[in-house]
């Protein structure tokens, strides 16, 4: 078992070990040295920089940083500078909970904004709720609105599946339409499916079948013949990120579009860019934001301009915009509250009327869901595109109203 090593090798490795330990200790001590003592307002921002939603997460970080920069340029909040602490939650609920604990316990953040997957945001919510920390969630979820997960300090800035699917179904489903569903087999897919089925029942369309596919699947070829044999008028693809791009591309390769219309709950800017106009042509889906809103909405114009200036002419994306609206609305509330005291900030958020990127928004009193417009977009034909960034037609801008949400009683709140 004992190996014969020459002396040189043994000394080097010993030195290397000591050097390594030294470097490691220095490295570990660094965050303490660097910790700011001043009056800075710190916002924690966990987001999945690695994993399947990394492209969306990077856009969120850019937009969130822009919100912080704009506020700091105006002199900060109540005279205090704002700092954004971005952490990689790795699209993993346990990791996100640990990161959130670190942000609260070590970095002493004044609020948390972020998380992109619904399981992850529920984990973050559990941690912030127990410690009475403000959390602005920017990922779609119906669960977080329900009374079981409600916290006085949690605000849901993103749309929820119920709002998204209702708006999309209203403009694509007709009485008697036959709808087939291809659904990612995890919380997001299930919630979107539930939303569509509810809207479908109200409209009088009918379901001809549904297929669940595993999260992160690359190959959809086995599902396409089965979906085609259902003979639907509408194929509704309920998945997210790269899954959406792959599923739509393969559906088009199978010639599905000649026979049916493809509808998605959320039409993603990044995935459309990744796959190109031909596959996406004519696909209809919902969105919280599209940069083209700048033609009609002044706040969208100023958000886009600021974003272009900060990012070399690039335009903000849909999920990226959540980073902006989430952080900016929180900072507005802190401004109104005159500081970071949790109770005052929560009160200020409840009363906040804001228009910072997409027209008027406000938080509903019972569940803290942001009441806001839902866009229904259609992907443009290649020949209709005026520039590389000209991706979608805005078919409808469904104005924000509490009627579009599930009622407080349905969510379990006392009347």
């Amino acid at each position: 078992m004992s190996e014969v090593k020459d002396g040189l090798f043994k000394t080097t490795s010993r030195r290397a070990v000591i050097a390594g330990i030294g470097a490691g200790t220095g490295l570990i001590a660094m965050p303490w040295v660097a910790r700011a003592q001043g009056e800075t307002i710190r916002i924690g921002f966990p987001t999945p920089l690695t994993g399947a939603f990394a492209a969306e997460a990077r856009d969120q970080v850019k937009s969130a940083e822009l919100a912080v920069k704009l506020i700091n340029d105006k002199g900060g909040v109540a005279g205090r500078k704002v700092e954004l602490l971005v952490r990689d939650d790795k699209l993993n609920a346990g990791e996100a909970a640990t990161r959130t604990l670190e942000l609260i316990e070590k970095d002493k953040v004044h609020a948390i904004v972020g998380a992109l997957s619904s399981a992850v945001q529920l984990a973050v919510n559990e941690v912030t709720r127990a410690r009475g920390v403000i959390y602005v969630s920017i990922s779609q979820s119906d669960t977080i609105n329900e009374v079981k997960d409600f916290s006085r300090f949690t605000f849901h800035e993103a749309l929820n599946p119920h709002m998204t699917t209702a708006a999309v179904a209203k403009h694509t489903f007709k009485p008697g339409s036959k709808v087939a569903y291809l659904v990612a087999d995890y919380a997001y897919g299930h919630e979107m499916l539930r939303g569509f089925k509810r809207a479908q029942a109200a409209i009088g369309a009918q379901s001809v079948g549904e297929i669940l596919h595993p999260f992160g699947a690359a190959d959809y070829s086995t599902f396409m013949p089965r979906l085609r044999s259902m003979r639907p008028d509408i194929l509704c693809i309920c998945n997210f990120g790269r899954d959406q791009a792959n599923a739509i591309k393969q559906a088009v390769d199978f010639g599905m579009k000649q026979q049916m219309k493809i509808v998605v709950p959320v039409l993603l800017h990044n995935q459309r860019l990744a796959i190109g106009p031909d596959a996406f042509e004519g696909v209809v889906g919902g969105a919280n934001y599209y940069w083209g809103l700048e033609r009609t909405i002044a706040s969208a114009k100023s958000f886009n301009d600021a974003f272009r200036a900060a990012n070399g002419g690039a335009v903000p994306t849909d999920y990226g915009a959540y980073g902006f609206t989430g952080v900016y609305s929180l900072l507005l509330a802190m401004q109104a509250a005159g500081g970071t005291e949790t109770d005052k900030v929560a009160k200020a958020l409840e009363g906040l009327k804001y228009d910072i990127a997409k027209g008027p928004q406000s938080y509903r009193a019972c569940d803290h869901q942001s009441v806001q417009s839902v866009l229904v977009l259609e992907s443009k034909k290649k020949t209709d595109m005026k520039s590389d960034m000209d991706l979608f037609n805005v078919l409808v801008e469904e104005a924000g109203s509490e009627a579009a949400l599930r009622s407080c009683a349905e969510l379990g709140f006392p009347a």
Binding site: M1, S2, S13, R14, V17, G24, T25, L27, I28, P31, L49, T50, A54, R87, D88, K90, N92, A93, G94, A97, T98, L101, E102, E105, K106, S118, A119, L122, A123, E126, V127, R129, A130, R131, T143, K148, D149, Y186, A187, H190
Partner: protein, 335 residues
């Protein structure tokens, strides 16, 4: 391969006339649990955050439990996430659905993980090598899909929530469990108990038998030991300790994500054990520490942290085949 087992050490000491190295080693072995606990006491003040330190404890216990089976008995299980996850889910369910006090929930979690280990162990220990790994993997996948389907109990894909423990009450004492320092030292008490328990097992005749099985199963059988029963007991003990790690993870994070049962969690403990040194007493703890620390710090620097973690693992496998702690012990004791 064995680095610091009492039987060998006595033999070694007698054979060489008790050199200085052996005496040092003897002292190391005798005081290993107190030494480990002292090291753990300092941990939260060295690491970048208390939350990370608690995770090191939890995954350290998980790896120590796993090492009992992998490092000492020589069985490469690829399904230990089932016991970690069972501990976590049962603890969470006991509090969220049945309103049990925390200590009862912890006990139930450990117990159910042990029962599950008895079932999975009984079904798998008669196979060997890669077949054993595959059977444990398959059975743990069954547990994963059960938890996914039973979403009214487990929360399915969204994970189990709603059992945050804010205060720990026991025998008139009450501790604020949301305070990170309190949380660390409470969980450290469990870690110390687990380390003592494992040390005790390894020092017993039973510990010598499992090592004998690892070294030469045929010979152990020829010596009259009941190999199957011994393996099964080792499997159950390992499952109990991994279950403890799971229950503590549930208390710490106040959620149980479905990922807890994923085969990645099984792979993680294999990597941590190898990194620290399989078959050394404190190695798995060191493995958990190094792995989590590098991941934590590297992901603050760059979103390409996986390259750093991956290269570190490759380098360790190439140049430190006994693992970090195993190599250190071998070097200190001149073996």
């Amino acid at each position: 391969m064995a680095v610091e087992t009492p039987l060998r050490q006595i033999r070694h000491a007698a054979g060489t006339g008790a050199g200085q190295a052996s005496r040092l080693k003897a002292a190391f072995t005798r005081w290993r649990v107190p030494l480990c606990v002292v090291a753990l006491c300092l941990l939260p003040w060295i690491l970048p955050s208390k939350a990370l330190a608690v995770n090191v404890l939890i995954y350290g216990i998980y790896a120590v439990g796993y090492n009992l089976l992998f490092g000492y008995t020589g069985l490469l299980s690829f399904g230990h996430a089932a016991f970690f996850g069972a501990g976590a889910y049962v603890t969470g369910i006991a509090i969220a659905h049945f309103g049990l006090p925390w200590y009862a929930a912890v006990a139930t979690g450990i117990l159910v993980a042990g029962l599950l280990a008895l079932v999975i162990g009984a079904l798998s220990i008669r196979t060997r090598g890669i077949y054993f790994s595959m059977v444990t993997l398959a059975l743990s996948q069954l547990v994963y899909y059960t938890a996914l389907q039973a979403s009214s109990w487990t929360g399915g894909e969204n994970g189990l929530r709603g059992f945050t423990v804010g205060r720990l009450d026991l025998a008139g004492l009450s501790v604020d469990f949301l305070d990170p320092v309190n949380k660390y030292y409470v969980i450290m008490l469990f870690a110390a108990a687990a380390l003592w328990f494992v040390s005790r097992i390894l020092n017993s005749p039973f510990g010598a038998v499992i090592e004998a099985i690892r070294e030469n199963e045929v010979r152990a059988r020829a010596c009259g030991y009941d190999v199957e029963r011994t393996k099964l007991i080792a499997f159950v003990l390992s499952g109990l300790i991994c279950g403890l790690a799971g229950t503590l993870s549930a208390l710490h994070l106040a959620i149980v994500p479905l990922d807890t049962l994923h085969y990645n969690t099984s792979g993680l403990v294999v990597m941590m054990t190898l990194l620290g040194g399989a078959g050394s007493f404190f190695g798995p703890f060191v493995g958990a520490l190094v792995f989590l620390l590098v991941e934590d710090v590297a992901s603050l620097w760059t979103s390409h942290w996986q390259i750093i973690v991956g290269s570190m693992f490759i380098l360790c496998v190439l140049f430190l085949p006994k693992g970090i702690w195993g190599t250190f012990i071998a070097w200190r004791t001149g073996r």
